[in-house]
């Protein structure tokens, strides 16, 4: 089988292609959010989409997250397939009740009478010096909730394929992007490209330690793996891609190969996704572990503004390398 043809796309172009292709395919899909239309998107993800689809399907909203998140849920209840853009996921907290109490509950609470095909998407996590209220990584807040799917792509091809799968899903999906990745370029397969939700991807194979990560931390983990390789430690980097549903088999299979686990998570440690992964591995693969599982996360504080402090708070290559060396009993050369 020959390799599929690819093109180089930025992360934002990949997202735009996903939305555009799906909207061309299904007139029930629309995009709604702050600045998505005439302004062409706060981060230009939806650039040109208003021109292509018109005001009926690319809808600028007032600053009213509770309102337009709820409108999306109502529209999805009777068969439309909304894509609701949050300018950042930080602002989704204003609409937390809509997502948690309404969207997440509907299918279960109605005994399956309704499908709820809605995607909430936008950038999450720290960018650069945005301070405490604009730097929150929200995946743990949403992955906690049964009834929601949580997707965090890290490369353009996954961004496109996962967003297409999310739009086609009949459940509410929280789709978390990142300001600092929108310009990241990568190869994206030509033609129809859908990446199923709930399937992790080994981004770098290795035999000595498993680094489980997702979203923009993938790139930090890959750099750490590179540095570790220089010291003779081969780290396997597993990109979860979807937090919920979690690809538990992929995590366990990797740990069975490497016998060591470090989870790299942007966001706070307490009751976070990393804790869930570690609980899974300790329960299901305890005997496979040659060392206690570890996690590298944000420091447990709100995000400070000053650049040096922000860099201290976020997971970094040195912190990952240090965690792995502690686990493998090796020291820096």
């Amino acid at each position: 089988m020959s390799k599929p043809e690819t093109r180089t796309l930025s992360f934002r172009e990949a997202l735009r292609e996903a939305m555009t292709e799906e909207m061309e395919r299904d007139p029930n899909i629309f995009l709604m959010g702050e600045e998505v239309g005439h302004y062409n998107g706060a981060y230009k993800v939806s650039e040109g989409m208003l021109e292509r689809f018109g005001e009926k399907r690319v809808i600028d909203t007032p600053i009213a997250e509770t309102g337009f998140a709820g409108v999306g849920i109502g529209a999805a209840m009777i068969g439309l397939r909304p894509i609701i853009e949050f300018m950042t996921w930080n602002f989704s907290l204003v609409a937390y009740d809509q997502i948690v109490s309404n969207a997440a509950k509907l299918r279960y609470m109605t005994n399956g009478q309704f499908a709820l095909p809605i995607v909430f998407r936008g950038p999450s996590g720290a960018a650069h010096a945005l301070g405490a209220q604009h730097s929150q990584a929200v995946e743990s807040l949403y992955a906690h909730i049964p009834g929601l799917k949580v997707v965090v792509p890290a490369v353009p091809s996954d961004a496109k394929g996962l967003l297409k799968a999310a739009i086609r899903d009949d459940n509410p999906v929280c789709f978390l992007e990142s300001e600092v990745m929108y310009s990241l370029k990568g190869e994206v397969p030509d033609g129809e490209h859908v990446v199923p939700l709930g399937v992790a991807d080994v981004k770098r194979p290795g035999r000595d330690v498993t680094l489980v990560t997702w979203g923009k931390m993938l790139h930090t983990a890959l750099k750490a793996a590179e540095e570790l390789a220089g010291g003779g430690i081969e780290a396997e980097v597993l990109d979860l891609r979807t937090i919920r549903p979690l690809d538990t088999e992929a995590v366990l299979a990797s740990v069975r190969r490497t016998h060591r686990l470090v989870v790299v998570q942007e966001g706070w440690p307490f009751a976070g996704v990393a804790a869930e992964i570690i609980a899974l591995v300790t329960r299901e693969a305890f005997d496979e572990l040659d060392a206690p599982p570890e996690r590298v996360t944000n420091l447990d504080v709100p995000m400070p503004y000053a650049t040096n402090l922000e860099q201290l708070v976020l997971p970094s290559v040195p912190r990952i390398v240090e965690a792995v060396r502690a686990l493998t009993g090796t020291r820096a050369a």
């Binding site: 309102g67 337009f68 005994n111």
Partner: protein, 317 residues
């Protein structure tokens, strides 16, 4: 005056009243659990309003929604079984009193976070307009909703995008145990609609015919103009906020005064004055309602609980 219509309104309101009384009894017997919010005294609002809508119009309601559900579906068995937490309930025992739904009959909840369903109702209307369908959405809520952010955001978007939704505020003067005059900076909730701007009207919510006429005009207007409308129905609940509320914050005189305008008694008097039915004939309607509710109670009692094997159904992630 349409005799059949008046008798049907009376029949439906009697059914709602008897349903609530039976539910209250079952609650005291421990057969219904959780929270139970009775609608006794407000029946003219739900029955009058929903009778004015087309069966294809959407209904979105709150946690005090048994009557709205009955007015739309007529299915006392499915409602009572749901309150009993049985597998034969309208949502298979997953919802209970506060979360009645019937997708087929376009009864869209059953929402129990105050104000949260206002934007959802706007969204249902948004979808109707998006698909160029003629349906209107009726959204019911209480006066206590008027200070919630979700209420204002839902109204703001409905007003901005001109969505065919009729907001029906059931102003029973109390948000749980707190009288409205202590919590609302305006006398009438409908004043709040005017800034969005949404046309508004105030009606006597204890008069089923007035409620029906006002709703019919509002629904037809919304259908024609694709614009929202806001109806404020002045009414009163005879019971406490929920079964755990003895309602000691109201004087006996106040309650008795309002019970003088019991919506069922008002409609009965009008029917008799118009010579449409005798007291005996009305009593027969009431007996029939009691029999239907008794059948619903027996159905709920003998229905099996939900199959434990299904506890994980409908969550895919």
């Amino acid at each position: 005056m349409d005799a059949a219509l008046l008798l049907d309104l009376y029949r439906q309101m009697a059914l709602c009243r008897r349903f609530e009384e039976a539910a209250g009894r079952a609650y005291q017997q421990g057969k219904i659990r959780g929270f139970l919010h009775l609608y006794v005294g407000q029946e003219a609002v739900a029955v009058g309003a929903i009778s004015a809508a087309a069966p294809t119009d959407y209904i979105v309601a709150t946690y005090r929604e048994h009557a709205h559900y009955l007015a739309r579906t007529g299915d006392a068995r499915a409602a009572m079984a749901e309150l009993y937490g049985k597998g034969t309930g309208t949502v298979g025992g997953r919802g209970g009193s506060m979360h009645l739904f019937d997708a087929q009959k376009r009864f869209l909840g059953g929402w129990a976070i105050v104000g949260g369903h206002i934007p959802i109702a706007a969204g249902v209307a948004f979808a109707s307009k998006y698909r160029d369908e003629p349906d209107v959405t009726l959204c019911f809520f209480g006066d206590g909703t008027a200070n919630m952010g979700a209420f204002h955001e839902g109204l703001a978007l409905a007003g901005l995008w001109k969505l065919p939704v009729v907001f029906i505020c059931e102003n029973n003067m109390y948000a749980m145990g707190t009288p409205l005059y202590r919590t609302l900076s305006v006398e009438d909730v409908s004043v709040r609609a005017k800034g969005y701007p949404i046309a508004a009207d105030i009606v006597n919510g204890d008069d089923a015919l007035e409620m029906r006429d006002a709703t019919r005009q509002a629904v037809e207007r919304a259908r024609k103009t694709k614009e929202p409308f806001f109806l404020e129905a002045k009414t009163y609940r005879f019971r406490g906020h929920s079964m755990s509320d003895p309602a000691k914050y109201r004087t006996r005189e106040e309650v008795e005064q309002w019970m003088q305008r019991d919506p069922l008694a008002l409609l009965a008097a009008r029917i008799q004055t118009l010579g449409i039915a005798t007291p005996d004939q009305l009593a027969k309607i009431d007996e029939d309602a009691k029999a239907i509710i008794q059948d619903a109670v027996e159905f709920a009692e003998r229905s099996p609980p939900p199959d434990p094997e299904t506890v994980l159904d409908h969550v895919e992630a």
